[in-house]
Amino acid sequence: MFRARFHRLLLLVALLIALPSYGASDHQHHHMPGMVMDATGMVMGGNSDRLPEDCKAISAEYEFTVLAGTAYAEPYAASTFGFDRHEWRVEPCSRITINFSNEDDVRHQWMLHGLPKYLYDRGMFHMEASGGFSQTGTFIVPSDNKTYLVHCDIAQHMEKGMKAQLIVGSGSGDLWSIPGVSADFQRGAVVLDGEKKYWLLFSVLMTAILCFMTIKKFPGD
């Protein structure tokens, strides 16, 4: 624990030295709306005032603190990474603030997908916190009942536990393989492309029917 804190302190000192040089070398810092980036991480797609087209007003305010790290994988046997919660419920048209706190020594993300693309670049609200750092970001959800995917997109972090869901209103059902919420998707054994599958079933059925009819037609003739 002491080592980790020491490393964070080192990183912080490095940042304090390094940060002014970013500012000096580049003046295009906030070229994308709602985007902040530095060595502590980044927030992309933040939106605290622009309402979705289908909302007349902000219906409710939420503030969640999300803790992330390997420690939160403990309750779930088959995972390595995790959030302290894997499900959040909010009202449609509400404003949500996430305080994302990374307790590991490596970076993690809290990335939400499926927001309207006219408000959010590529439909994403994306937070990334470097090891030992926190990020805060705000976004507004539209009015439809929908379940949004939340995950960490570092290779294998979602697969190994960093997968969660944000349920707006009554939601649109649970996603697969959310720790503590839903099971893994059952993988199919046979892969046939959709159309072919139905034709094959239809053909087998026809074979059986014709076989039966022919037997009926010529009984002991």
Partner: protein, 560 residues
């Protein structure tokens, strides 16, 4: 008479059924017999010149360079030379590696997809105009790993068409997603096999921090790099879990310190359960460049291959520099991370059950790809009268016998140590055992010894398994020394033999029956399966046929 008609009906049904059945549904022996007795339908081209799976499955050899990554450019004051290959390294990342991610602007950093602290370059300690404090951060990524929800690999990286073995690699600390974008399953260009070549300058004070973003424990051992056994604070620095230190657990980090006094081509790799972790891809080249004034070195060479910003010392002697990393892979080992999503089972299978003494190796890669993908970014492009430096590492578990067509190369360094000039050996097969490095001098002076003239000359492992992919060729680590006159504008080599569309289809490397071309010589193989209506007709006839037989048999019984 009725019996005669019944037999005739059955025969007719049988004939129609046979006619409707696609040729490829018949046993191969029957088709060979048929072709032997009645001949093939018409003249057919030689197998290998027919596209294996015609139509949509053939991949584009060389995608257009939309982002303009291939051309020579100056970014953040760094000259990035033109890259002749069809897939060029991201020039923004190259510039960030040269200047340090702490010294480039926001846009360059965004386009490089690197974290601001991936390569931090600090003070100039010897006052010669280049930074000597280098802090590198490495992360660990899983490519072609499993998923609880999909039955295809995720964070995909294909070493050859349709070939996606499970891999673990080191990569400079990045920012944002591991995939190209949210809709894509493909790994972003900075994440790939091999673990990238690292470059520092002789005498630099180097810190390498391993940030373990993976779900298994890892370390880094700096093989051949001058480093103390313990850091200044007394912690283990050799990266060996059984001797010097505990491994770095998932979500944790550790820093290694070194100030290499000797220059040379060295090696780094994970030292946890080496028989499996190194073989999964956790190994890379570590180059210490000779100290020169104003020597800003390119700290990472992603995917190895052509060095777009060579060091001062290399430019003094050579026209171009290439990093060549050979590695073999075990298909069965790689598959273990795809078969289950449970880290406990993966650990059990890889750390306890995997038996390398019973293993064989299916994939042979050069710079993380096998033929024909080697032609995308690992061609050695040159021109007459040049001198090239090839740094070669064998990161694999078997030796490689590198053979250069059309050239004899001179070995200037063994394991990073310079060989005295009068004693140097010039030859056309260079044997490199596991973990060994050689620096080769490739001269393109057409004197019948060093070079036999311009052309597209293969370079490959001459142990024949090295030129196969899953035991099937052409594949493996085959690449080529290509003279500019023989290079097309898009970076693809001119070829004068068999068409390459064959090799650019996933079916070819899955040994699809007709993909190899072998059975296309037999009569009438159809490109795709039967149409839906034909399938239905076959079913109807089969139904009638079985019905007739059944009614016949039942009638016979009722008479008894």
């Amino acid at each position: 008479m009725r019996r005669f008609y019944r037999a005739l009906t059955l025969l007719l049904l049988l004939l129609v059924f046979a006619a409707l059945t696609p040729w490829q549904w018949y046993p191969r022996d029957w088709r060979v017999w048929y072709a032997g007795n009645f001949g093939a339908g018409s003249y057919l081209q030689q197998a290998a010149t027919i596209p294996a799976v015609p139509g949509d499955n053939t991949e584009e050899a060389c995608p257009p360079d939309i982002k303009g990554w291939r051309k020579s450019q100056t970014i953040a004051g760094v000259d990035v030379s033109a890259s002749s290959n069809c897939l060029a390294d991201n020039p923004h990342a190259v510039a960030a590696f040269v200047k340090g991610t702490n010294n480039v602007g926001h846009m360059t950093l965004m386009k490089s997809r690197l974290s601001p602290d991936a390569v931090v370059k600090g003070r100039d300690l010897d006052g010669d105009g280049d930074p000597d404090e280098i802090h590198i951060r490495l992360e660990v990524f899983e490519l072609n790993g499993g998923s609880p929800d999909l039955n295809v690999p995720v964070t995909q990286y294909a070493i050859a068409p349709g070939v996606m073995p499970g891999l673990w690699v080191f990569a400079p600390k990045s920012a944002g997603m591991s995939t190209e974008n949210f809709e894509s399953l493909l790994a972003q260009p900075g994440l790939r096999l091999p673990s990238p070549a690292i470059r520092v300058e002789q005498g630099d004070k180097v810190i390498v921090t391993l940030e373990n973003t993976h779900y298994m424990p890892h370390t880094i051992h700096f093989h051949g790099v001058d480093h103390p056994f313990q850091t200044a604070s007394g912690e283990g620095n050799d990266g060996v879990p059984v001797i010097s230190e505990k491994p770095v657990m998932p979500g944790r980090q550790r820093s290694y310190e070194m100030q290499p006094r000797q220059a040379g081509t060295m090696f780094y790799h994970c030292h946890v359960e080496v028989q499996a972790h190194v073989l999964m891809g956790l190994n890379g080249m570590f180059v210490i460049e000779e100290n020169r004034p104003n020597n800003w070195v390119q700290t990472f060479n992603i995917g190895d291959g052509y060095v777009r910003h060579s060091s001062v010392a290399v430019k003094e002697k050579y026209d171009r520099e290439y990093d060549l990393h050979y590695q073999d892979l075990d298909k069965e080992l790689g598959a273990k991370i795809q078969q289950t999503n449970d880290p406990r089972l993966i650990t059990q299978q890889i750390h306890r059950e995997y038996d390398i003494s019973q293993a064989d190796f299916e994939y042979y890669t050069l710079n993380g790809r096998s033929f024909p993908y080697t032609a995308k970014d690992s061609l050695i492009v040159t021109a007459p009268g040049e001198k090239l430096k090839l740094r070669v590492l064998n990161g694999g578990s078997e030796g490689v016998a590198i053979h250069t067509h059309g050239h004899k190369v001179t070995i200037s360094h063994y394991d990073g140590v310079e060989h005295p000039e009068p004693a140097r050996i010039t030859r056309d097969v260079v044997w490199i055992a596991s973990a060994q490095r050689v620096d080769l001098e490739l001269s393109t002076v057409d004197d019948g010894l060093h070079s036999y003239g311009e052309g597209v000359w293969l370079i490959h492992d001459h142990q024949e398994r090295g030129v196969t992919t899953n035991g099937f060729g052409p594949g493996g680590n085959v690449s080529a020394i290509v003279y500019e006159r023989f290079l097309q504008d898009d970076g693809w080599p001119m070829t004068f033999g068999m068409a390459w569309q064959n090799f650019l289809t996933p079916g070819f490397y899955q040994r699809q029956e007709d993909g190899s071309g072998a059975t296309t010589l037999l009569p009438g193989v159809e490109a795709s399966g039967p149409s839906n209506l034909r399938l239905l007709a076959l079913a109807v006839i089969a139904g009638l046929f079985v019905g007739f037989i059944a009614s016949w048999v039942m009638k016979g019984r009722s008479n008894v």
